[in-house]
Protein backbone atom coordinates (compact mmCIF):
# COMPACT_ATOMS: atom_id res chain seq x y z
CA UNK A 1 0.00 0.00 0.00
CA UNK A 2 2.84 2.41 0.82
CA UNK A 3 4.21 3.14 -2.65
CA UNK A 4 1.67 5.21 -4.50
CA UNK A 5 0.07 3.24 -7.28
CA UNK A 6 2.39 3.52 -10.21
CA UNK A 7 -0.54 3.80 -12.51
CA UNK A 8 -1.55 7.18 -11.27
CA UNK A 9 1.83 8.65 -12.03
CA UNK A 10 1.79 7.27 -15.52
CA UNK A 11 1.32 9.76 -18.33
CA UNK A 12 -2.22 9.82 -19.61
CA UNK A 13 -1.19 8.84 -23.14
CA UNK A 14 -2.67 5.48 -23.66
CA UNK A 15 -0.45 2.60 -24.66
CA UNK A 16 -1.95 0.56 -27.42
CA UNK A 17 -4.13 -2.02 -25.73
CA UNK A 18 -3.45 -5.44 -27.06
CA UNK A 19 -6.84 -6.97 -26.78
CA UNK A 20 -9.21 -4.63 -25.10
CA UNK A 21 -10.07 -2.19 -27.85
CA UNK A 22 -11.89 -3.87 -30.68
CA UNK A 23 -12.21 -0.72 -32.72
CA UNK A 24 -8.45 -0.78 -33.25
CA UNK A 25 -8.23 -4.27 -34.58
CA UNK A 26 -10.45 -6.56 -36.56
CA UNK A 27 -12.82 -8.66 -34.42
CA UNK A 28 -11.33 -11.93 -33.35
CA UNK A 29 -12.21 -14.32 -36.10
CA UNK A 30 -12.57 -17.84 -34.71
CA UNK A 31 -9.81 -19.87 -36.22
CA UNK A 32 -11.24 -22.98 -37.76
CA UNK A 33 -8.78 -25.39 -36.18
CA UNK A 34 -9.18 -24.21 -32.57
CA UNK A 35 -12.39 -22.23 -32.17
CA UNK A 36 -12.90 -20.45 -28.88
CA UNK A 37 -15.18 -22.13 -26.40
CA UNK A 38 -16.00 -18.81 -24.82
CA UNK A 39 -15.59 -15.62 -26.73
CA UNK A 40 -16.28 -12.14 -25.42
CA UNK A 41 -16.63 -9.18 -27.77
CA UNK A 42 -16.69 -5.60 -26.60
CA UNK A 43 -18.36 -6.42 -23.28
CA UNK A 44 -19.60 -3.53 -21.16
CA UNK A 45 -21.33 -3.82 -17.81
CA UNK A 46 -23.00 -0.89 -16.09
CA UNK A 47 -24.45 -0.63 -12.62
CA UNK A 48 -26.71 2.36 -13.10
CA UNK A 49 -24.23 5.15 -13.95
CA UNK A 50 -21.16 3.15 -12.97
CA UNK A 51 -19.35 1.74 -15.98
CA UNK A 52 -17.90 -1.34 -14.32
CA UNK A 53 -16.56 -3.31 -17.28
CA UNK A 54 -15.20 -1.41 -20.25
CA UNK A 55 -14.88 -2.81 -23.75
CA UNK A 56 -13.51 -6.21 -22.88
CA UNK A 57 -12.72 -8.58 -25.73
CA UNK A 58 -11.12 -11.97 -25.22
CA UNK A 59 -11.42 -15.66 -26.04
CA UNK A 60 -10.96 -18.91 -24.13
CA UNK A 61 -10.03 -22.10 -25.93
CA UNK A 62 -11.69 -25.38 -24.96
CA UNK A 63 -10.12 -27.41 -22.17
CA UNK A 64 -7.99 -24.57 -20.97
CA UNK A 65 -8.02 -22.55 -17.78
CA UNK A 66 -8.18 -18.78 -17.93
CA UNK A 67 -7.22 -16.98 -14.75
CA UNK A 68 -8.61 -13.50 -14.24
CA UNK A 69 -6.45 -11.41 -11.93
CA UNK A 70 -6.41 -7.82 -10.81
CA UNK A 71 -6.70 -5.68 -7.70
CA UNK A 72 -9.91 -5.57 -5.64
CA UNK A 73 -12.73 -3.75 -7.34
CA UNK A 74 -11.26 -4.09 -10.82
CA UNK A 75 -14.31 -5.90 -12.11
CA UNK A 76 -13.10 -9.51 -12.06
CA UNK A 77 -16.25 -10.85 -10.45
CA UNK A 78 -18.44 -8.58 -12.53
CA UNK A 79 -16.79 -9.93 -15.66
CA UNK A 80 -17.17 -13.58 -14.77
CA UNK A 81 -20.80 -13.12 -13.73
CA UNK A 82 -21.53 -11.67 -17.15
CA UNK A 83 -20.55 -15.03 -18.64
CA UNK A 84 -23.65 -16.79 -17.34
CA UNK A 85 -25.95 -13.80 -17.21
CA UNK A 86 -26.07 -13.53 -13.43
CA UNK A 87 -26.40 -9.78 -13.85
CA UNK A 88 -29.89 -10.28 -15.26
CA UNK A 89 -31.15 -10.49 -11.69
CA UNK A 90 -29.37 -7.49 -10.28
CA UNK A 91 -31.55 -4.38 -10.34
CA UNK A 92 -29.85 -1.57 -12.19
CA UNK A 93 -27.29 -3.77 -13.94
CA UNK A 94 -27.00 -3.54 -17.71
CA UNK A 95 -24.81 -5.59 -20.03
CA UNK A 96 -23.77 -4.60 -23.55
CA UNK A 97 -21.67 -6.51 -26.01
CA UNK A 98 -21.58 -10.13 -26.98
CA UNK A 99 -20.58 -13.32 -25.23
CA UNK A 100 -20.39 -16.45 -27.34
CA UNK A 101 -20.34 -19.99 -26.03
CA UNK A 102 -19.66 -22.38 -28.91
CA UNK A 103 -20.45 -19.55 -31.29
CA UNK A 104 -23.87 -18.89 -29.76
CA UNK A 105 -24.48 -15.37 -28.47
CA UNK A 106 -25.70 -15.54 -24.88
CA UNK A 107 -27.15 -12.07 -24.97
CA UNK A 108 -29.01 -12.56 -28.24
CA UNK A 109 -32.77 -12.34 -28.21
CA UNK A 110 -34.51 -15.61 -27.51
CA UNK A 111 -31.72 -17.11 -25.44
CA UNK A 112 -33.17 -18.46 -22.20
CA UNK A 113 -30.77 -17.63 -19.38
CA UNK A 114 -32.13 -20.58 -17.44
CA UNK A 115 -31.04 -23.07 -20.11
CA UNK A 116 -27.77 -21.22 -20.58
CA UNK A 117 -26.83 -21.45 -16.91
CA UNK A 118 -27.00 -25.20 -17.14
CA UNK A 119 -24.28 -25.14 -19.79
CA UNK A 120 -22.20 -22.62 -17.88
CA UNK A 121 -21.80 -23.72 -14.27
CA UNK A 122 -20.62 -21.49 -11.50
CA UNK A 123 -18.79 -21.88 -8.21
CA UNK A 124 -19.01 -18.90 -5.92
CA UNK A 125 -16.57 -17.12 -3.68
CA UNK A 126 -18.11 -18.36 -0.47
CA UNK A 127 -19.27 -21.94 -0.21
CA UNK A 128 -23.04 -21.80 -0.54
CA UNK A 129 -24.56 -25.26 -0.17
CA UNK A 130 -28.33 -25.25 0.21
CA UNK A 131 -28.73 -25.01 3.97
CA UNK A 132 -31.86 -27.13 4.21
CA UNK A 133 -30.55 -29.97 2.07
CA UNK A 134 -28.37 -32.97 2.80
CA UNK A 135 -25.05 -33.61 1.06
CA UNK A 136 -26.74 -35.97 -1.34
CA UNK A 137 -29.62 -33.59 -2.05
CA UNK A 138 -27.21 -30.75 -2.68
CA UNK A 139 -25.44 -32.65 -5.44
CA UNK A 140 -28.68 -34.01 -6.86
CA UNK A 141 -30.41 -30.62 -6.76
CA UNK A 142 -29.42 -29.69 -10.30
CA UNK A 143 -30.44 -33.11 -11.61
CA UNK A 144 -33.93 -32.84 -10.17
CA UNK A 145 -34.18 -29.25 -11.29
CA UNK A 146 -33.31 -29.96 -14.89
CA UNK A 147 -35.27 -33.18 -15.06
CA UNK A 148 -32.16 -35.26 -15.68
CA UNK A 149 -33.09 -38.89 -15.28
CA UNK A 150 -30.83 -41.86 -14.80
CA UNK A 151 -29.35 -43.24 -11.65
CA UNK A 152 -29.00 -40.24 -9.41
CA UNK A 153 -27.09 -42.14 -6.74
CA UNK A 154 -24.46 -43.07 -9.33
CA UNK A 155 -24.19 -39.54 -10.67
CA UNK A 156 -23.90 -38.12 -7.15
CA UNK A 157 -21.12 -40.54 -6.32
CA UNK A 158 -19.33 -39.80 -9.58
CA UNK A 159 -19.48 -36.03 -9.02
CA UNK A 160 -18.37 -36.31 -5.42
CA UNK A 161 -15.43 -38.44 -6.57
CA UNK A 162 -14.60 -35.88 -9.25
CA UNK A 163 -14.66 -33.19 -6.59
CA UNK A 164 -12.37 -35.31 -4.39
CA UNK A 165 -14.94 -35.37 -1.62
CA UNK A 166 -16.41 -38.85 -1.86
CA UNK A 167 -14.13 -40.57 0.62
CA UNK A 168 -14.81 -37.94 3.24
CA UNK A 169 -18.60 -37.98 2.98
CA UNK A 170 -19.62 -41.39 1.66
CA UNK A 171 -20.78 -42.52 5.10
CA UNK A 172 -22.88 -39.46 5.82
CA UNK A 173 -24.59 -38.48 2.61
CA UNK A 174 -27.79 -37.80 4.51
CA UNK A 175 -26.17 -35.24 6.78
CA UNK A 176 -26.64 -31.54 6.21
CA UNK A 177 -24.39 -30.00 3.57
CA UNK A 178 -23.67 -27.21 6.00
CA UNK A 179 -22.27 -29.68 8.54
CA UNK A 180 -19.09 -29.96 6.44
CA UNK A 181 -16.01 -27.82 6.88
CA UNK A 182 -15.54 -24.78 4.67
CA UNK A 183 -13.18 -26.54 2.26
CA UNK A 184 -15.46 -29.56 2.05
CA UNK A 185 -18.46 -27.31 1.45
CA UNK A 186 -16.68 -25.66 -1.45
CA UNK A 187 -15.88 -29.04 -2.97
CA UNK A 188 -19.53 -29.97 -2.41
CA UNK A 189 -20.49 -26.87 -4.38
CA UNK A 190 -18.12 -27.92 -7.15
CA UNK A 191 -19.69 -31.38 -7.20
CA UNK A 192 -23.11 -29.76 -7.35
CA UNK A 193 -22.04 -27.66 -10.32
CA UNK A 194 -20.53 -30.68 -12.10
CA UNK A 195 -23.68 -32.77 -11.71
CA UNK A 196 -25.53 -30.96 -14.48
CA UNK A 197 -22.53 -31.50 -16.78
CA UNK A 198 -21.80 -27.92 -17.76
CA UNK A 199 -19.44 -27.21 -20.64
CA UNK A 200 -17.89 -24.20 -19.03
CA UNK A 201 -17.13 -23.81 -15.35
CA UNK A 202 -16.86 -20.34 -13.85
CA UNK A 203 -15.11 -20.07 -10.51
CA UNK A 204 -15.25 -16.82 -8.61
CA UNK A 205 -12.35 -16.90 -6.14
CA UNK A 206 -13.27 -20.45 -5.13
CA UNK A 207 -10.46 -20.72 -2.58
CA UNK A 208 -10.55 -17.28 -1.03
CA UNK A 209 -12.34 -18.47 2.11
CA UNK A 210 -10.30 -21.63 2.49
CA UNK A 211 -7.21 -22.74 4.34
CA UNK A 212 -4.04 -23.76 2.44
CA UNK A 213 -4.76 -27.49 2.49
CA UNK A 214 -8.27 -27.06 1.15
CA UNK A 215 -6.92 -24.59 -1.40
CA UNK A 216 -4.36 -27.12 -2.60
CA UNK A 217 -7.12 -29.70 -3.02
CA UNK A 218 -9.23 -27.31 -5.07
CA UNK A 219 -6.27 -26.42 -7.26
CA UNK A 220 -5.49 -30.07 -7.85
CA UNK A 221 -9.11 -30.51 -8.76
CA UNK A 222 -8.95 -27.72 -11.32
CA UNK A 223 -6.07 -29.52 -13.00
CA UNK A 224 -8.17 -32.64 -13.32
CA UNK A 225 -11.33 -30.85 -14.40
CA UNK A 226 -9.42 -29.18 -17.22
CA UNK A 227 -9.46 -32.49 -19.09
CA UNK A 228 -13.20 -32.12 -19.61
CA UNK A 229 -14.20 -28.54 -18.97
CA UNK A 230 -13.29 -25.04 -20.02
CA UNK A 231 -12.62 -23.09 -16.85
CA UNK A 232 -12.56 -19.40 -16.10
CA UNK A 233 -11.30 -18.69 -12.61
CA UNK A 234 -11.16 -15.38 -10.83
CA UNK A 235 -8.41 -15.30 -8.27
CA UNK A 236 -6.93 -12.93 -5.79
CA UNK A 237 -3.74 -14.88 -5.56
CA UNK A 238 -1.20 -14.52 -8.32
CA UNK A 239 0.51 -17.70 -7.16
CA UNK A 240 -2.75 -19.53 -7.65
CA UNK A 241 -3.15 -18.08 -11.13
CA UNK A 242 0.39 -19.16 -11.97
CA UNK A 243 -0.26 -22.67 -10.66
CA UNK A 244 -3.59 -23.49 -12.26
CA UNK A 245 -4.02 -21.51 -15.46
CA UNK A 246 -2.94 -21.71 -19.06
CA UNK A 247 -3.75 -18.11 -19.81
CA UNK A 248 -4.06 -15.10 -17.59
CA UNK A 249 -6.05 -11.93 -18.07
CA UNK A 250 -5.17 -8.86 -16.04
CA UNK A 251 -8.02 -6.47 -15.28
CA UNK A 252 -7.62 -2.99 -13.93
CA UNK A 253 -10.40 -0.45 -13.31
CA UNK A 254 -12.82 -2.44 -15.42
CA UNK A 255 -10.54 -2.75 -18.41
CA UNK A 256 -8.73 -5.77 -19.71
CA UNK A 257 -5.16 -4.53 -19.66
CA UNK A 258 -3.42 -7.59 -20.95
CA UNK A 259 -4.07 -11.22 -21.67
CA UNK A 260 -1.63 -13.91 -22.64
CA UNK A 261 -0.09 -17.23 -21.71
CA UNK A 262 0.31 -17.33 -17.94
CA UNK A 263 4.09 -17.78 -18.07
CA UNK A 264 4.45 -14.72 -20.23
CA UNK A 265 2.17 -12.53 -18.09
CA UNK A 266 4.18 -13.33 -15.01
CA UNK A 267 7.68 -13.23 -16.47
CA UNK A 268 7.52 -10.91 -19.42
CA UNK A 269 4.37 -8.78 -19.48
CA UNK A 270 4.01 -6.29 -22.27
CA UNK A 271 2.22 -3.74 -20.14
CA UNK A 272 3.77 -1.64 -17.46
CA UNK A 273 0.67 -1.88 -15.24
CA UNK A 274 0.64 -5.65 -15.48
CA UNK A 275 4.27 -5.78 -14.48
CA UNK A 276 3.68 -3.46 -11.55
CA UNK A 277 0.80 -5.60 -10.39
CA UNK A 278 2.42 -9.01 -10.74
CA UNK A 279 5.60 -7.79 -9.09
CA UNK A 280 3.57 -6.47 -6.18
CA UNK A 281 4.06 -2.74 -6.67
CA UNK A 282 0.34 -2.21 -6.18
CA UNK A 283 -2.78 -4.21 -5.61
Amino acid sequence: MSPAPAVQIMPPEKPVPMVSAPQQQPPLAPEPETPFKVEVQDLNVYFRANHAIRHVTLGVKPQTVLAVIGPSGCGKSTFIRALNRMHDLVPGARVEGRVFVDGEDLYARGIDPVLLRRRVGMVFQRPNPFPTMSIYENVAAGLTLNGIGGNHAEIVEHCLRQAALWDEVKDRLRHAGTSLSGGQQQRLCIARALAVEPEVLLMDEPASALDPIATAKIEELIHELKEKYTIVIVTHSMQQAARVSDNTAFFYLGELIEMGPTAQIFTNPRERRTEDYVTGKFG
Partner: protein
Protein backbone atom coordinates in the same frame (compact mmCIF):
# COMPACT_ATOMS: atom_id res chain seq x y z
CA UNK B 1 -18.95 -7.68 -5.79
CA UNK B 2 -16.64 -8.15 -2.84
CA UNK B 3 -17.97 -5.22 -0.82
CA UNK B 4 -20.65 -7.26 0.97
CA UNK B 5 -18.11 -9.86 2.01
CA UNK B 6 -15.73 -7.17 3.15
CA UNK B 7 -18.19 -6.09 5.82
CA UNK B 8 -18.08 -9.43 7.54
CA UNK B 9 -14.56 -10.52 6.78
CA UNK B 10 -12.67 -12.53 9.33
CA UNK B 11 -10.34 -9.95 10.92
CA UNK B 12 -13.23 -7.62 11.65
CA UNK B 13 -15.28 -10.28 13.38
CA UNK B 14 -12.25 -11.41 15.35
CA UNK B 15 -11.67 -7.87 16.50
CA UNK B 16 -15.30 -7.58 17.49
CA UNK B 17 -15.03 -10.82 19.43
CA UNK B 18 -11.96 -9.58 21.23
CA UNK B 19 -13.72 -6.36 22.14
CA UNK B 20 -16.74 -8.28 23.29
CA UNK B 21 -14.53 -10.37 25.51
CA UNK B 22 -12.72 -7.36 26.94
CA UNK B 23 -15.92 -5.64 28.03
CA UNK B 24 -17.19 -8.75 29.82
CA UNK B 25 -14.46 -9.74 32.25
CA UNK B 26 -16.67 -12.03 34.29
CA UNK B 27 -19.52 -10.81 36.45
CA UNK B 28 -17.45 -8.61 38.75
CA UNK B 29 -18.59 -5.45 36.98
CA UNK B 30 -21.32 -3.73 39.04
CA UNK B 31 -23.08 -2.12 36.08
CA UNK B 32 -23.13 -5.44 34.33
CA UNK B 33 -24.68 -7.22 37.27
CA UNK B 34 -27.27 -4.50 37.69
CA UNK B 35 -28.21 -4.71 34.03
CA UNK B 36 -28.30 -8.47 34.17
CA UNK B 37 -30.60 -8.62 37.19
CA UNK B 38 -32.90 -5.94 35.72
CA UNK B 39 -33.35 -8.08 32.63
CA UNK B 40 -34.05 -11.14 34.80
CA UNK B 41 -36.71 -9.24 36.71
CA UNK B 42 -38.33 -7.91 33.54
CA UNK B 43 -38.31 -11.39 32.03
CA UNK B 44 -39.84 -12.92 35.12
CA UNK B 45 -42.57 -10.26 35.18
CA UNK B 46 -44.07 -11.67 31.99
CA UNK B 47 -44.52 -15.06 33.61
CA UNK B 48 -45.83 -13.50 36.82
CA UNK B 49 -48.41 -11.38 34.99
CA UNK B 50 -49.57 -14.31 32.86
CA UNK B 51 -49.79 -16.47 35.97
CA UNK B 52 -51.80 -13.86 37.86
CA UNK B 53 -54.28 -13.52 35.01
CA UNK B 54 -54.91 -17.25 35.00
CA UNK B 55 -55.16 -17.30 38.76
CA UNK B 56 -57.65 -14.43 38.89
CA UNK B 57 -59.80 -15.98 36.18
CA UNK B 58 -59.75 -19.29 38.00
CA UNK B 59 -60.81 -17.63 41.25
CA UNK B 60 -63.58 -15.74 39.46
CA UNK B 61 -64.78 -18.98 37.87
CA UNK B 62 -64.89 -20.81 41.22
CA UNK B 63 -68.68 -20.48 41.83
CA UNK B 64 -69.27 -22.37 38.62
CA UNK B 65 -67.63 -25.47 40.06
CA UNK B 66 -70.59 -26.02 42.39
CA UNK B 67 -72.82 -27.65 39.82
CA UNK B 68 -70.63 -27.88 36.68
CA UNK B 69 -67.69 -30.19 36.18
CA UNK B 70 -64.86 -28.87 33.99
CA UNK B 71 -65.49 -31.45 31.30
CA UNK B 72 -69.23 -30.86 31.52
CA UNK B 73 -68.70 -27.14 31.06
CA UNK B 74 -66.56 -27.67 27.96
CA UNK B 75 -68.83 -30.23 26.27
CA UNK B 76 -72.22 -28.77 27.19
CA UNK B 77 -73.94 -26.95 24.34
CA UNK B 78 -76.76 -25.27 26.27
CA UNK B 79 -76.23 -21.70 27.43
CA UNK B 80 -79.14 -20.51 29.48
CA UNK B 81 -78.35 -17.88 32.14
CA UNK B 82 -81.97 -17.86 33.35
CA UNK B 83 -81.88 -21.57 34.19
CA UNK B 84 -78.25 -21.38 35.32
CA UNK B 85 -77.20 -23.83 32.61
CA UNK B 86 -73.84 -22.97 31.15
CA UNK B 87 -71.95 -24.79 28.39
CA UNK B 88 -69.01 -23.47 26.41
CA UNK B 89 -69.01 -25.77 23.39
CA UNK B 90 -71.00 -23.56 21.00
CA UNK B 91 -68.69 -20.63 21.62
CA UNK B 92 -65.55 -22.74 21.43
CA UNK B 93 -66.82 -24.17 18.17
CA UNK B 94 -67.53 -20.72 16.72
CA UNK B 95 -64.11 -19.44 17.73
CA UNK B 96 -62.28 -22.42 16.26
CA UNK B 97 -64.27 -22.50 13.02
CA UNK B 98 -63.95 -18.79 12.29
CA UNK B 99 -60.23 -18.81 13.12
CA UNK B 100 -59.48 -21.85 10.99
CA UNK B 101 -61.47 -20.66 7.99
CA UNK B 102 -59.83 -17.24 8.24
CA UNK B 103 -56.41 -18.92 8.20
CA UNK B 104 -57.40 -20.95 5.15
CA UNK B 105 -58.42 -17.73 3.42
CA UNK B 106 -55.54 -15.55 4.58
CA UNK B 107 -52.44 -17.78 4.57
CA UNK B 108 -52.13 -18.45 0.83
CA UNK B 109 -52.71 -14.77 0.06
CA UNK B 110 -50.26 -13.67 2.75
CA UNK B 111 -47.48 -16.03 1.64
CA UNK B 112 -48.01 -15.14 -2.00
CA UNK B 113 -47.90 -11.46 -1.19
CA UNK B 114 -44.76 -11.86 0.92
CA UNK B 115 -43.04 -13.78 -1.86
CA UNK B 116 -44.03 -11.13 -4.35
CA UNK B 117 -42.80 -8.32 -2.14
CA UNK B 118 -39.46 -9.92 -1.33
CA UNK B 119 -38.64 -11.95 -4.43
CA UNK B 120 -40.53 -10.92 -7.52
CA UNK B 121 -41.55 -7.28 -7.32
CA UNK B 122 -39.05 -4.59 -8.25
CA UNK B 123 -37.54 -3.34 -4.95
CA UNK B 124 -39.33 0.01 -5.14
CA UNK B 125 -42.72 -1.55 -5.74
CA UNK B 126 -42.07 -3.97 -2.87
CA UNK B 127 -41.49 -1.08 -0.50
CA UNK B 128 -44.58 0.73 -1.75
CA UNK B 129 -46.68 -2.41 -1.36
CA UNK B 130 -45.78 -2.98 2.28
CA UNK B 131 -47.29 0.38 3.22
CA UNK B 132 -50.98 -0.35 2.57
CA UNK B 133 -50.52 -3.78 4.11
CA UNK B 134 -49.18 -2.22 7.29
CA UNK B 135 -52.01 0.28 7.16
CA UNK B 136 -54.48 -2.63 7.35
CA UNK B 137 -53.02 -3.49 10.74
CA UNK B 138 -53.69 0.01 12.01
CA UNK B 139 -57.43 0.01 11.32
CA UNK B 140 -59.40 -0.37 14.59
CA UNK B 141 -61.39 -3.57 14.79
CA UNK B 142 -64.69 -1.75 15.27
CA UNK B 143 -64.15 -0.17 11.86
CA UNK B 144 -63.62 -3.64 10.43
CA UNK B 145 -66.87 -4.60 12.09
CA UNK B 146 -68.74 -1.72 10.48
CA UNK B 147 -67.25 -2.54 7.11
CA UNK B 148 -68.29 -6.15 7.62
CA UNK B 149 -71.82 -5.19 8.60
CA UNK B 150 -72.47 -2.73 5.81
CA UNK B 151 -70.42 -4.11 2.92
CA UNK B 152 -69.34 -7.72 3.42
CA UNK B 153 -72.54 -9.13 4.92
CA UNK B 154 -74.91 -7.76 2.23
CA UNK B 155 -72.48 -8.91 -0.44
CA UNK B 156 -72.30 -12.40 1.03
CA UNK B 157 -76.08 -12.55 1.35
CA UNK B 158 -76.80 -11.34 -2.16
CA UNK B 159 -73.98 -12.84 -4.23
CA UNK B 160 -71.44 -15.13 -2.64
CA UNK B 161 -73.57 -17.41 -0.52
CA UNK B 162 -76.26 -18.07 -3.16
CA UNK B 163 -73.50 -18.84 -5.67
CA UNK B 164 -71.68 -21.17 -3.29
CA UNK B 165 -74.95 -22.83 -2.34
CA UNK B 166 -75.82 -23.42 -5.96
CA UNK B 167 -72.46 -24.84 -7.06
CA UNK B 168 -71.02 -26.38 -3.92
CA UNK B 169 -74.27 -26.97 -2.07
CA UNK B 170 -73.61 -30.71 -1.88
CA UNK B 171 -70.93 -29.96 0.74
CA UNK B 172 -72.57 -29.47 4.16
CA UNK B 173 -70.37 -26.39 4.68
CA UNK B 174 -72.31 -24.48 2.04
CA UNK B 175 -75.89 -25.50 2.82
CA UNK B 176 -78.71 -23.54 4.29
CA UNK B 177 -80.26 -20.15 3.77
CA UNK B 178 -77.87 -17.32 2.88
CA UNK B 179 -78.18 -15.04 5.88
CA UNK B 180 -75.00 -13.06 5.47
CA UNK B 181 -74.27 -12.77 9.17
CA UNK B 182 -72.43 -15.80 10.44
CA UNK B 183 -69.27 -17.88 10.38
CA UNK B 184 -68.33 -17.02 6.81
CA UNK B 185 -68.66 -13.26 7.32
CA UNK B 186 -66.57 -13.43 10.51
CA UNK B 187 -63.94 -15.56 8.82
CA UNK B 188 -63.60 -13.14 5.94
CA UNK B 189 -63.22 -10.13 8.22
CA UNK B 190 -60.71 -12.01 10.35
CA UNK B 191 -58.77 -13.03 7.24
CA UNK B 192 -58.32 -9.39 6.28
CA UNK B 193 -57.39 -8.50 9.84
CA UNK B 194 -54.69 -11.16 10.25
CA UNK B 195 -53.25 -10.69 6.76
CA UNK B 196 -50.94 -7.78 7.67
CA UNK B 197 -49.54 -9.64 10.68
CA UNK B 198 -48.66 -12.70 8.64
CA UNK B 199 -47.27 -10.65 5.75
CA UNK B 200 -45.14 -8.39 7.93
CA UNK B 201 -43.47 -11.28 9.75
CA UNK B 202 -43.09 -13.46 6.64
CA UNK B 203 -41.47 -10.63 4.70
CA UNK B 204 -38.89 -10.10 7.41
CA UNK B 205 -38.15 -13.82 7.56
CA UNK B 206 -37.87 -14.21 3.80
CA UNK B 207 -35.50 -11.27 3.61
CA UNK B 208 -33.03 -13.19 5.75
CA UNK B 209 -32.55 -15.91 3.14
CA UNK B 210 -28.92 -15.65 2.07
CA UNK B 211 -28.65 -14.20 -1.42
CA UNK B 212 -25.80 -16.64 -2.07
CA UNK B 213 -28.01 -19.71 -1.90
CA UNK B 214 -30.54 -18.17 -4.24
CA UNK B 215 -27.76 -17.41 -6.70
CA UNK B 216 -26.52 -20.98 -6.34
CA UNK B 217 -29.92 -22.27 -7.39
CA UNK B 218 -30.07 -19.89 -10.34
CA UNK B 219 -26.57 -20.86 -11.44
CA UNK B 220 -27.73 -24.48 -11.55
CA UNK B 221 -30.37 -23.56 -14.09
CA UNK B 222 -33.30 -22.87 -11.80
CA UNK B 223 -35.99 -20.48 -12.88
CA UNK B 224 -36.78 -17.67 -10.48
CA UNK B 225 -39.74 -19.60 -9.15
CA UNK B 226 -37.73 -22.80 -8.71
CA UNK B 227 -34.98 -20.90 -6.93
CA UNK B 228 -37.54 -19.51 -4.50
CA UNK B 229 -39.02 -22.95 -3.86
CA UNK B 230 -35.55 -24.46 -3.36
CA UNK B 231 -34.10 -21.79 -1.11
CA UNK B 232 -36.46 -19.16 0.27
CA UNK B 233 -39.36 -21.40 1.25
CA UNK B 234 -37.38 -24.12 3.07
CA UNK B 235 -35.15 -21.54 4.68
CA UNK B 236 -38.00 -19.45 6.07
CA UNK B 237 -40.46 -22.28 6.78
CA UNK B 238 -40.19 -22.05 10.56
CA UNK B 239 -40.56 -18.28 10.48
CA UNK B 240 -43.63 -18.46 8.24
CA UNK B 241 -45.27 -20.88 10.66
CA UNK B 242 -44.47 -18.44 13.44
CA UNK B 243 -46.13 -15.68 11.42
CA UNK B 244 -49.23 -17.82 10.90
CA UNK B 245 -49.38 -18.52 14.64
CA UNK B 246 -49.30 -14.81 15.38
CA UNK B 247 -52.18 -14.37 12.97
CA UNK B 248 -54.04 -17.26 14.56
CA UNK B 249 -53.59 -15.68 17.97
CA UNK B 250 -55.17 -12.50 16.73
CA UNK B 251 -58.05 -14.36 15.07
CA UNK B 252 -58.82 -16.39 18.21
CA UNK B 253 -58.96 -13.36 20.44
CA UNK B 254 -60.63 -10.85 18.12
CA UNK B 255 -63.77 -9.60 19.84
CA UNK B 256 -65.40 -6.52 18.40
CA UNK B 257 -65.39 -7.21 14.67
CA UNK B 258 -66.51 -10.79 15.17
CA UNK B 259 -69.27 -9.77 17.59
CA UNK B 260 -70.65 -7.42 14.97
CA UNK B 261 -70.90 -9.94 12.14
CA UNK B 262 -71.13 -13.47 13.57
CA UNK B 263 -74.83 -13.22 14.38
CA UNK B 264 -74.52 -13.91 18.13
CA UNK B 265 -76.68 -16.97 18.11
CA UNK B 266 -75.56 -19.81 20.41
CA UNK B 267 -75.89 -22.76 18.08
CA UNK B 268 -73.61 -25.26 16.40
CA UNK B 269 -74.11 -25.61 12.69
CA UNK B 270 -72.10 -27.41 10.05
CA UNK B 271 -72.88 -24.71 7.53
CA UNK B 272 -70.62 -21.69 7.26
CA UNK B 273 -73.67 -19.63 6.25
CA UNK B 274 -75.26 -20.07 9.67
CA UNK B 275 -75.07 -17.56 12.47
CA UNK B 276 -72.95 -18.54 15.45
CA UNK B 277 -71.21 -17.18 18.46
CA UNK B 278 -67.62 -16.97 19.66
CA UNK B 279 -65.92 -17.01 23.06
CA UNK B 280 -64.78 -13.37 23.10
CA UNK B 281 -68.10 -12.19 21.65
CA UNK B 282 -70.22 -13.75 24.38
CA UNK B 283 -67.97 -12.43 27.12
CA UNK B 284 -68.17 -8.91 25.72
CA UNK B 285 -71.93 -9.06 25.15
CA UNK B 286 -73.03 -10.54 28.45
CA UNK B 287 -70.55 -9.29 31.01
CA UNK B 288 -72.34 -6.00 31.66
CA UNK B 289 -75.68 -7.77 32.15
CA UNK B 290 -74.47 -10.71 34.16
CA UNK B 291 -76.17 -10.39 37.54
CA UNK B 292 -75.95 -13.80 39.16
CA UNK B 293 -72.55 -14.82 40.46
CA UNK B 294 -72.77 -18.08 38.54
CA UNK B 295 -73.26 -16.20 35.29
CA UNK B 296 -70.18 -14.07 35.97
CA UNK B 297 -68.26 -17.19 36.89
CA UNK B 298 -69.33 -18.88 33.66
CA UNK B 299 -68.04 -15.93 31.66
CA UNK B 300 -64.73 -16.08 33.52
CA UNK B 301 -64.68 -19.78 32.72
CA UNK B 302 -65.08 -18.95 29.04
CA UNK B 303 -62.10 -16.63 29.40
CA UNK B 304 -60.06 -19.47 30.82
CA UNK B 305 -61.07 -21.73 27.97
CA UNK B 306 -60.08 -19.07 25.44
CA UNK B 307 -56.74 -18.69 27.16
CA UNK B 308 -56.17 -22.43 27.17
CA UNK B 309 -57.20 -22.78 23.52
CA UNK B 310 -54.73 -20.15 22.42
CA UNK B 311 -52.00 -21.70 24.51
CA UNK B 312 -52.64 -25.27 23.32
CA UNK B 313 -52.85 -24.32 19.65
CA UNK B 314 -49.58 -22.41 19.88
CA UNK B 315 -47.81 -25.19 21.72
CA UNK B 316 -49.17 -27.81 19.34
CA UNK B 317 -48.03 -25.87 16.31
CA UNK B 318 -44.56 -25.43 17.81
CA UNK B 319 -44.24 -29.16 18.36
CA UNK B 320 -45.39 -29.73 14.81
CA UNK B 321 -42.83 -27.31 13.41
CA UNK B 322 -40.03 -28.88 15.40
CA UNK B 323 -41.00 -32.29 14.07
CA UNK B 324 -41.03 -31.03 10.48
CA UNK B 325 -37.77 -29.16 10.96
CA UNK B 326 -35.95 -32.32 11.85
CA UNK B 327 -34.63 -32.50 8.33
CA UNK B 328 -30.93 -32.44 7.50
CA UNK B 329 -30.57 -28.99 9.04
CA UNK B 330 -30.47 -30.37 12.57
CA UNK B 331 -27.90 -33.06 11.89
CA UNK B 332 -24.39 -31.96 12.63
CA UNK B 333 -21.19 -33.53 11.40
Amino acid sequence: MPSREAIIDAPASEAAAAQHHASHPGTSNLGDRLFNSTLWILGAMILVVAGLIVLNLAVAARPLAKDHSLWGFITETQWDPVEDRFGALTFLYGTLVTSMVSLILAVPVAIGLSLFITQFAPPKLGRVLTMPVELLAAIPSVVYGLWGLFIVVPWLRASVEPWLGKHLGWIPLFQGPPIGLGYLASSMILAVMILPTIVAVSVEVMKTTPEATREAALALGATKWEAVMMTVIPYSRAGIVGAVLLGLGRALGETMAVTMVIGNSPQISASLFAAGYSLPAVIANEFAEATSSVHVAALAGLGLILFATTFLLNAGARVLVNAVQRGPRRVSG
